[in-house]
Assembly symmetry: C6
Amino acid sequence: DFTRALSEVEPKFGAKSADMQAYYRGGMVNYGEPFESMTETVNRVIEQMKTSTKTPLMSLLISGEAETGKTALAAHLANASGIPFVRVISADTMIGMSESGKALEINRNFMEAYKSPLSLILIDDLERLIEYIRVGPRFSNQVLQALLVLLKKPPPEDKKLLVIATTSIPLLLEDLSLTQSFSLQVSCPQLEPSSPSIKTVLTDSGVEEQDASAISQAITQPIGIKTLLMVTEMARSNSGGERIDLNIFLECLHTVGY
Amino acid sequence: DFTRALSEVEPKFGAKSADMQAYYRGGMVNYGEPFESMTETVNRVIEQMKTSTKTPLMSLLISGEAETGKTALAAHLANASGIPFVRVISADTMIGMSESGKALEINRNFMEAYKSPLSLILIDDLERLIEYIRVGPRFSNQVLQALLVLLKKPPPEDKKLLVIATTSIPLLLEDLSLTQSFSLQVSCPQLEPSSPSIKTVLTDSGVEEQDASAISQAITQPIGIKTLLMVTEMARSNSGGERIDLNIFLECLHTVGY
Amino acid sequence: DFTRALSEVEPKFGAKSADMQAYYRGGMVNYGEPFESMTETVNRVIEQMKTSTKTPLMSLLISGEAETGKTALAAHLANASGIPFVRVISADTMIGMSESGKALEINRNFMEAYKSPLSLILIDDLERLIEYIRVGPRFSNQVLQALLVLLKKPPPEDKKLLVIATTSIPLLLEDLSLTQSFSLQVSCPQLEPSSPSIKTVLTDSGVEEQDASAISQAITQPIGIKTLLMVTEMARSNSGGERIDLNIFLECLHTVGY
Amino acid sequence: DFTRALSEVEPKFGAKSADMQAYYRGGMVNYGEPFESMTETVNRVIEQMKTSTKTPLMSLLISGEAETGKTALAAHLANASGIPFVRVISADTMIGMSESGKALEINRNFMEAYKSPLSLILIDDLERLIEYIRVGPRFSNQVLQALLVLLKKPPPEDKKLLVIATTSIPLLLEDLSLTQSFSLQVSCPQLEPSSPSIKTVLTDSGVEEQDASAISQAITQPIGIKTLLMVTEMARSNSGGERIDLNIFLECLHTVGY
Amino acid sequence: DFTRALSEVEPKFGAKSADMQAYYRGGMVNYGEPFESMTETVNRVIEQMKTSTKTPLMSLLISGEAETGKTALAAHLANASGIPFVRVISADTMIGMSESGKALEINRNFMEAYKSPLSLILIDDLERLIEYIRVGPRFSNQVLQALLVLLKKPPPEDKKLLVIATTSIPLLLEDLSLTQSFSLQVSCPQLEPSSPSIKTVLTDSGVEEQDASAISQAITQPIGIKTLLMVTEMARSNSGGERIDLNIFLECLHTVGY
Amino acid sequence: DFTRALSEVEPKFGAKSADMQAYYRGGMVNYGEPFESMTETVNRVIEQMKTSTKTPLMSLLISGEAETGKTALAAHLANASGIPFVRVISADTMIGMSESGKALEINRNFMEAYKSPLSLILIDDLERLIEYIRVGPRFSNQVLQALLVLLKKPPPEDKKLLVIATTSIPLLLEDLSLTQSFSLQVSCPQLEPSSPSIKTVLTDSGVEEQDASAISQAITQPIGIKTLLMVTEMARSNSGGERIDLNIFLECLHTVGY
Ligand SMILES: Nc1ncnc2c1ncn2[C@@H]1O[C@H](COP(=O)(O)OP(=O)(O)OP(=O)(O)O)[C@@H](O)[C@H]1O
Ligand SMILES: Nc1ncnc2c1ncn2[C@@H]1O[C@H](COP(=O)(O)OP(=O)(O)OP(=O)(O)O)[C@@H](O)[C@H]1O
Ligand SMILES: Nc1ncnc2c1ncn2[C@@H]1O[C@H](COP(=O)(O)OP(=O)(O)OP(=O)(O)O)[C@@H](O)[C@H]1O
Ligand SMILES: Nc1ncnc2c1ncn2[C@@H]1O[C@H](COP(=O)(O)OP(=O)(O)OP(=O)(O)O)[C@@H](O)[C@H]1O
Ligand SMILES: Nc1ncnc2c1ncn2[C@@H]1O[C@H](COP(=O)(O)OP(=O)(O)OP(=O)(O)O)[C@@H](O)[C@H]1O
Ligand SMILES: Nc1ncnc2c1ncn2[C@@H]1O[C@H](COP(=O)(O)OP(=O)(O)OP(=O)(O)O)[C@@H](O)[C@H]1O
Ligand SMILES: [Mg+2]
Ligand SMILES: [Mg+2]
Ligand SMILES: [Mg+2]
Ligand SMILES: [Mg+2]
Ligand SMILES: [Mg+2]
Ligand SMILES: [Mg+2]
């Protein structure tokens, strides 16, 4: 299937590749048009980084609702890019750090990247990194400023850097001048109720053709791929066997707030 | 009675089980439908954690008015789950700590949990942990961010983690993106004036059938189970003997603000 | 007189009892109904703590306008309770401490109390402890959170704790969820202009029957017992002899802002 | 003259008395009714402190517009009181101190005072001590809380303490609960245009009878005694000789903002 | 071509000159009127600094939309100025520093400059240096104050200093009194849709005459030179060969948010 | 010319006098009425300080628009005063200092001054010292409070102190109670378009009579003396020779924002 096909393209980098795969341990499903179009845009930029010398710094923001697969997409494409130096900057390794500690840590990652001819830095969940909360709003200005500066700073001569970041709140981050600091922005959409994407995801996830069709028709609002996969798993484990009871699926969907 | 029945299901884990029981020292009363429905939902998720490997991280928020029995319910079900590694994260062990100290302590508990194949972390009273106060609002952003990050971070390969948390202010925590960070939410209701629940709780608590009926009819607003049990005890101790004087009960009810 | 009678009920605990008495050095006057009703409510809770095992933690808030005798009442009843372990938590021992220092100190007092089978903690003037000021409002969130947590935390098995606190601003503290954290609330009123309470206080304080009557009739607004006692003393010292000149009394009353 | 007369009443305490006199180095002028009435009120309280044992803590706030002589009045009466232990708490000895440093220093002064049978603490310019600025408003909550606590804390048994403080902004300090924390408040007024006070101050200050009359009639708004004395001195030094030119006086008055 | 011509004027200062060139590594294109007029204004001030002794301190602010070439312009002219001591103050060397650390570092650079008879300090991106964010607004007051002071402080006798700074938000910085602190302000405009500037930039950048014309006509909004150069490079790398496909160019333009 | 004349009056104090002269290195021009009137007011106060003993502390605020010559005026008159102890307190020596560090440094300067029989402290640019920014407003309350206290604190016996300060925002500083803390305020105006002041300044600055007249007539708004001198110098250096081209002058005027 497609998942296998995708993983074959991935270069073998031992531990590092394994690290990246942790972000899409459930595998990647090619659910059709929106997925392919996003993949193409990102890959075009990756290609540009590899071939051109005139744009030593490019940055790309993957934005979309919660649970739409942003992190998995970014990690998967980074892993498949063949760029040897890949680093992930994520809030989960900095819990409890001071603001300046975080800014320094982010800076350190960029410094490290500047040493390779071509590097890729993946910044997962910008809002968590800058400790953003809508009320106020509150955020770490020191971390934000570090990002704003580093997203504009050209790497040293003969070095190239691609930054890929993810966020669920691109509009709110515009007020912080963060969204605009990226060279380009890619939208990662929810799966549409009437599209074939949902059925594709379900069958790929092991749901029987028939059940997949029934469920697909029963979903009436856009849904994130991560949510869909979780609810499917809840329904499966509650249905007892491998087959999924439509009513149980809908009940589970309701439980998670739909 | 039911309390005894319930405790029989509990696995024997020595000290740990005793610790958990401290949160429902007064015992658990099965007061009918709402209690059974909550129990079922939580147990279904526990079951899913035990059997499925596709959802290594699930989180569940028990929300309800003050004194509705949220902590007792969570502790009781955690204890009865048979999950060997159970940890409670609660503000009362962190009084006087700095914000980053609290964030680190929470992180430490998660790290510890990641070492077991299947763990359960009970976070009691989210609002106290993040030091939330409605005016402002004020809260510890550092602790909040630690929670937001950890509620999204998948455990390492082959490890599974279930997080159960309680709160009295789910709507206010929505503004902090906290409520939405949980996979599912369970509502813990007050006891309804006209329902048989109140009488069940009273008789289980040792109130004579007749008195229980009288009291039950005299209560005209929803009441938390913890409040009901406390007022019953006040009334009993003020009535002199074991029987409870209805007027004294109503007086006590009034004293506590009803 | 009544003052003597009251002091006879007090258990003899050497130094500790003396400490508590410092809060009502001027003695306690039984000024009738409101005083007796408050005393009764508090004593009922004390009795419940002594006899019942089902409510190991009770908390009671004495609220009332400035100078109505809240602190004296709390200290007097605590002293008379016969509860062996009694501790006072008051802002005056924590001047210049950091917020976390105060939170730790409060916590330490509770930990200490948890060691006795039955303890009483008197928290005087909640607003000073949490450094509350109406403009803003400003307050120490760290101290407030410590109180909110400790007022909910059940003591260890077989231990019982009664918390009695005082405040002049119960409504403002509601915005901080503090007032609601107490099991019950008792109102400590001002002395009413037309009530016999004022005359009782005056004569008990050594004012001649006749002067007391005159003064009593001249007071037209509710007045705190502490204010009344101070003005009486000012008037006495300004009148030259033991008798109190009504005009001088009214003048003094005016000087203190009535 | 009166200045000499006043200074004769002052007890001889060597250095300390000299210290107090620094606050009214220009001498004290008895400018009639308002001055005598203030003096009487303060002295009555001082007398009460000396004779009565029932009010071990009294506090008095002298409030009035800028430059009305509040500090001089307080220092003069404190010095004249004959109370052996007198301490001044003033912001000028605490410049650059941390907030908690100031709170501790204030506390230390009270502790020191508690050691004497009868003490007087003069707190000059409350607004400077609490670092108050109208915009915001901003102030040191830690210093304010120290004052609020200490103004309510009774001295140890057999000790008595009188606190006299000054302020130019009694109404603003009401929002901070500070004004109300004093037992009584005394208003220190500006000199009234039509009153004989102005002429008295001028002649006492060495202005010729005739010039004093002319100036007195030319002043049409209330004026603080400190301002009047400064303008008089400016005019004198600008007039060349000892006689004061009315036009030069008015010009000087205008220069200082009248 | 012009780029070469420009670089010939640059004095040879070894490493330093190379450092400055890093800010316009892609070279400088003379795109006609607005560029020449800006160059002339700046050069006139540079000339004044060299010849006159009466204006030992001059400061010049280059302001313009994002990506209009401000930094490149400033660095290029600084490098070409022949002023021996040139220093760049930029936020990217101060990530993670404390506010006072930044203020001291800025001060240090000025102190260093004061040692040379004639120095030039280039402050790149004022908003990043003062950590400005529109919401609030938030900024480092300590760094801002250091700038405000240093922009007014005359160098020591016989020393001269020229400060050139860049910003994208001159109007917002007016609220901070920063824009006004400069002696003069130069506007760096976007390239106008109908002007020949765009075609000049494109052909200089290696785009074939014909393609340049087509693209130039297809651009309908003002565009920053940096954006134009980046999109051109994206389009080139996506077009496969050296020739640029107009549709691909427009697609790329759309991708970056136009 | 007048500049020379003025400098002759200055007492010779070696290094110190040189230090003060740095603030008006371009010399002082007597531009007529407003300058003479300001000089007279300040000198009258200086005279009063020297002769009278009844006003040991006087403070004078020189306020006026940016670039009107406030600092030069203050420094010049201080230098010419003949007062032996003169100290300048200015933000430029305190960059990067903590707030309390600044407060202590200011205090230290006053303490030092208190040691001389007659001292003069010049506080340049109050707004920079207190780190004032209109938005918020933000300012260092600790530094502000130090100033408020020191501006009211009388020097020790037999010592006299004159404080002269400058500010461009007297109205904004009123909200901070700072403007009112000075004994008197002197306004330093811009040069008026129709007044002979402008021509005087120009000719004194070496502009030919004829050019000076032409320029003087071309200026239509009030202008600060510092701005006028700078623009004149810019125009001279741009005109090529010593003569100034009117059009170039107007162009330069426009460049600096007029
Ligand atoms: N085509 C796909 N694209 C993205 N994710 C996919 C795809 N196919 C399968 N998945 C799975 O869906 C999940 C997507 O979750 P992911 O954490 O990436 O979402 P997210 O948008 O980053 O969520 P959040 O908003 O919580 O950060 C992963 O488990 C991944 O294995
Ligand atoms: N079925 C039940 N569910 C919950 N609590 C029960 C039940 N039966 C009895 N109880 C008792 O009721 C009390 C519930 O109190 P608990 O502290 O859990 O309430 P809570 O909602 O967490 O209160 P708070 O809002 O103060 O945190 C416990 O003492 C528990 O022993
Ligand atoms: N029946 C009484 N109840 C309370 N206080 C009494 C009584 N009889 C006499 N007193 C005296 O009245 C005074 C009451 O003052 P207390 O400090 O308790 O008032 P408070 O309400 O706590 O004041 P505050 O609002 O300032 O804290 C004490 O001096 C006490 O000795
Ligand atoms: N009767 C008087 N009362 C007060 N001050 C007097 C009197 N007679 C003369 N003075 C002189 O007037 C001055 C009063 O100044 P003082 O500093 O006390 O005023 P203030 O109200 O405290 O001013 P501020 O508002 O600045 O604190 C002193 O110099 C004092 O010597
Ligand atoms: N005439 C020119 N003026 C300015 N830049 C030019 C010119 N010709 C070519 N360039 C190139 O255009 C780019 C301008 O980018 P630069 O970083 O200076 O823009 P900026 O306005 O400072 O952007 P930002 O707002 O992000 O700080 C540089 O790569 C530079 O080499
Ligand atoms: N009569 C004068 N008064 C003041 N300054 C003069 C006079 N004649 C010449 N000058 C010159 O004018 C300049 C005045 O600048 P100064 O720095 O004093 O202005 P400022 O008002 O303090 O400016 P800022 O608002 O920036 O602090 C000095 O260079 C000084 O030499
Ligand atoms: Mg994600
Ligand atoms: Mg609970
Ligand atoms: Mg009290
Ligand atoms: Mg005073
Ligand atoms: Mg730039
Ligand atoms: Mg100046």
